[in-house]
């Protein structure tokens, strides 16, 4: 098993095939990912396709002229090199470039670059017996395939012809839906057939094509290095994996809305070409020149978030269950656990894009069995008739499924809900303090019930701490002296005082404390102050308890005038509900200072 660096590290649990939502827990970004050699001795691997239902991976060998299948048996891919059986499905191709699967009909489609007497062809292969038949030819060095089975069509890119072809899979009739591309190689088409994304090598960039108007809309990313094949990161189709060949030998994740490209898989073997994503097994498979590699998807940044956040805390700012937001943000916290009732915000718009109509939120306590939440709350929904927000109840759909309906307003009119994207209101701590992990499953209506919709890997873990803490002004004394009795009247001696304070959280989540002396008419003076900012990770990651029975300040506090004085303690824990700190402790103790003679003589307070 090899280690591979990535920009973000997450920890995964592998779910059963029937469970589409995978556990994902954000962890330290510095951790590394793992890859496994699924096949070695490959003779110029290029295109690759995944069959998650039958646990198969198909890839073509450019030099070998073969279409091969890796069958993933139980445990065969847990160590590197893998021991999964590999069989040749079909052979005798002339420089195959890509493979795409039509599993409903038991077929694969293979492009070949330069069959004798032609400029390359598209073949149909029976996956059961390997028999093949020609669909069409003279495609101009065809490369990546994007199948559109509902319309019985394939989109194929022609490297030499510079064309994007749409091919009738029955007759082989083809139409150039885009021409003038610069040595195009990779191809991805949106499910609604409105857009195609094409990697070009001259110049090296990613183009966005309008399939209806046959025009280039924009160049999404430029300055690429030997860009090759593409794959959607997930069914939402907001981001693409883009393979770059030598010398970078990596995979970029290209976020289409922001046009940003981020290296997510680096250090791949020489000349990677194709990538196939299998969300069910939480893996991506990369075909390189001499190897087929498996890369854990858990190691990669997600395309679109499932959890948006908790209150004002973005989901990705919750690490190890603690919230930490950045300086400059209006709600800045550091290593804050959660408590109270949490507004958990979910990407309801993206759920709709994934074709879901309903969602279910599960929660598990300290790694235990996830159980669905069935809570109800009230929120506001815009009444277009009256022009006001109406209080609107939210509750799970009655029945055994414990699912909530995604309002039809999403994604077009998320603003009609206040607050928007509120997915769950969860009174924290049903099992006491500790780690609670939430996962989301998506569904769509099917008859009287629901069927699962493939859900991007997701989870959100929060640490709950609803406990109170110890806080008191234990005693007051003249500096270095003995404790004074409560309400004592001090008439002589030093006018410096010490205050004995306890601001102590056994759960080590203290935020801050301050002691203030109050006197006269609105007179006040800070006696002592401390906060977690000065004690980050003081007692271990995220931990600081505070103080107990501690005299402060060290040099004593200098009184300013004669009057009754109250020493007031105000302490806070770091626990938040996403909007505010929740747990405060106050205490005070009073004395009277009336030193009118000697070195500590003070004036009367105004």
């Amino acid at each position: 098993m090899k280690q591979m660096s990535t920009s973000l590290c997450v920890r995964w649990t592998r779910a059963a095939l029937s469970v589409l939502a995978l556990g994902l827990a954000l962890c330290n970004p510095a951790k590394a990912a793992t890859t496994i050699d699924m096949a070695t001795g490959v003779t110029a691997g290029v295109g690759i396709a995944s069959d998650p239902v039958n646990a198969n991976i198909y890839y073509v060998e450019f030099n070998g002229g073969t279409l091969k299948r890796i069958h993933i048996t139980a445990g065969c891919d847990l160590t590197s090199p893998a021991t999964c059986p590999i069989t040749t499905v079909a052979s005798g191709f002339t420089h195959p470039e890509d493979v795409a699967l039509d599993l409903d009909h038991g077929l694969a489609y293979v492009t070949t670059r330069d069959d004798l007497g032609t400029t390359g062809a598209l073949w149909r292969v029976n996956l059961a017996g390997g028999a093949r038949s020609l669909v069409t030819f003279n495609l101009g060095a065809p490369h990546q395939i994007s199948l559109d089975i509902p319309t019985n069509a394939a989109y194929v890119i022609g490297f030499d012809s510079g064309k994007l072809w749409k091919i009738d899979l029955t007759t082989g009739a083809k139409v150039a839906v885009m021409t003038g591309l610069g040595h195009p190689v990779g191809l991805a088409v949106t499910a609604d057939r409105t857009r195609a994304y094409v990697t070009e090598q001259t110049p090296a960039r990613l183009a966005e094509i309008d399939l209806a108007l046959h025009v280039r809309i924009r160049n999404v990313v430029t300055g690429l290095t030997s860009p090759f094949y593409l794959s959607w990161t997930d069914p939402a189709q907001y981001a693409l994996y883009l393979v770059q060949r030598n010398p970078t030998n990596n995979v970029l994740r290209v976020d289409l809305p922001s046009s940003t490209a981020t290296p997510v898989i680096t250090g791949l073997p020489f000349n990677p070409s194709g990538i196939a994503v299998n969300l069910i097994s939480g893996a991506a498979f990369v075909a390189a020149d001499a190897k087929v590699e498996k890369v854990g998807l858990a190691t990669l940044p997600m395309g679109e978030p499932v959890f948006l956040g908790v209150g004002n805390v973005p989901s990705t700012k919750i690490v190890d269950g603690y919230a930490t937001t950045d300086p400059g943000y209006f709600f800045q916290v550091k290593d804050s656990p959660f408590g109270g009732t949490l507004n958990i915000l979910g990407n309801l718009s993206n759920f709709r894009a994934l074709t879901a109509t309903h969602y279910r939120v599960n929660v598990s306590y300290e790694g235990g069995v996830p159980t669905p939440l069935t809570l109800s709350w009230n929120t506001y929904h815009w009444n277009a008739v009256t022009g006001v927000f109406d209080l609107t109840p939210v509750a799970p759909v009655p029945g055994p499924d414990h699912v909530y309906q995604i309002p039809a307003d999403y994604p077009a009119h998320a603003e009609r809900w206040f607050p928007s994207f509120l997915m769950m209101r969860w009174p924290s701590g049903s099992n006491g303090n500790g780690h609670y992990t939430f996962t989301v499953e998506l569904f769509k209506s099917s008859g009287a019930g629901f069927v699962a919709v493939p859900t991007p890997a997701n989870s959100l873990t929060v640490l709950v701490d609803n406990s109170g803490f110890n806080h008191d002004v234990v005693a007051v004394r003249q500096h270095g002296g003995s404790p004074l009795s409560v309400c004592a009247i001090v008439t002589s001696g030093t006018s410096k005082f010490d205050v004995e304070v306890t601001a102590y959280d056994p759960n080590q989540h203290l935020l801050s404390y301050n002691v203030t002396a109050l006197f006269g008419h609105n007179g006040s003076s800070l006696v002592a102050f401390d906060s977690y900012a000065s004690h980050v990770d003081a007692e271990g990651p995220h931990l600081w308890s505070g103080v107990t029975n501690t005299w402060m300040p060290a040099a004593g506090w200098q009184a300013q005038c004669n009057c009754a004085h109250t020493f007031y303690l105000d302490a806070w824990k770091r626990t938040i509900d996403g909007y505010n700190y929740l747990l405060e402790g106050i205490a005070h103790q009073s004395i009277t200072i009336d030193i009118t003679s000697g070195p500590g003589t003070l004036p009367a307070c105004p």
């Binding site: 020609l134 069409t136 003279n138 009738d168 029955t170 007759t171 082989g172 083809k174 139409v175 150039a176």
Partner: protein, 403 residues
Amino acid sequence: MNTIRSSIRSNFWWRTALVLSGFLMTALAAVAQHTAVSTLLPPGYHSEEALTWCGPATGQMIVAGYPTSACTVVQADVDASIQTHKVEGNWDTDPAGLRASFADVCPLPSAHWVVFARPDIPSLMYSAAYWMTTNQYPVAALLGTTQHNSYAPHKEHWVAITAIVTDVNPVGNPTVNLQFVQFIDPSPTNLGDPPMVRFVTGAQWSTGMTPIMTPVTKMPSAYNGKFVAIIEPPPTIGRAVVANPLLLTGTVIPKAQAQRSALEAVQKLKLTENAAFREFTKAKPLEPLLVNAARGGYYLVPFSVDQKSSSLAVIVNAYNGDFQEAGHFGPRTFLTERAALEQARLALRLRKPFQPREAKAEMVSSAEGSPYAPEWRITARNLTLHVSQLGQVREFRTRVTPQ
């Protein structure tokens, strides 16, 4: 659109055409004293790139065969032009669309292609011969509108005629005898194979039980009942008739006689001097295959250089040995009777091979209609199976008429 005008290659074709014309003229002069060759233009050979693209492939060959300013074009561009100009929507390639595509993908100032739709073959073929002789342009001909490949919904069958041989020069003679037609069929039996070059007698072309050229049977269509060809340029009235119609029934001649007839035809017609059939020089005939013995019968005589696979064949009449046509196609082997019976056994899931006389095997014309890819008809156990040259088995059930 990838168009290259006046390419070296097209000039080469033109020079080659002149040479071949001379060869064929010489060859055919030996057959008939007053033979005239209307034209012999070997355009760039192309097979269809899709099961519905015999029209675009024909168009691609036609513009490559212009005597001057020929064009090398992409078949997809021809199809795109056809679809743009198509008038009758129930065709994959209608005559008007194909005609317009010529001017679109390879325009000529003086050319103005015309769709000839005639109620009979003689008048159509006369016009074709007349203008091919005059202007030296190949002709796009519609063989018919019935299924001709594995994709049943596709009906029309376009080919490029590259030569027409008549007994006298059609220019100046309003009636001529149609002796031979050479054409390139862009629809081979298997998609992706080379196009088939066929050299057929006038009788094979237009008469007999299964003439090669048949009228349009599409409904609705302005061409229904007509024979169609696209010719450059305007029409001229005349007739090219067939002197000796095909013999459709009779006593089947022995295989040896069929083989001899085929060899004699190759020599007599000097097919080795025709570029498309030059391979006959080194080829020897294999065992003849008898097709449609009862009616419309013919012997398919494969020729092979290595005595294994064939890319040439001669078809002679099964009852008198008369030459009907010669064809050049992608290398292939023909399914033997034994192999056909084995395929039938597998299809019927029988454990043991057929016993002698348990099954009857005979060759018949294929559903797709190519005489070079006949099927085996196996009759056994009250079932009739058809086994294609690729070994694919179809079952035919006898329709029972209620008493």
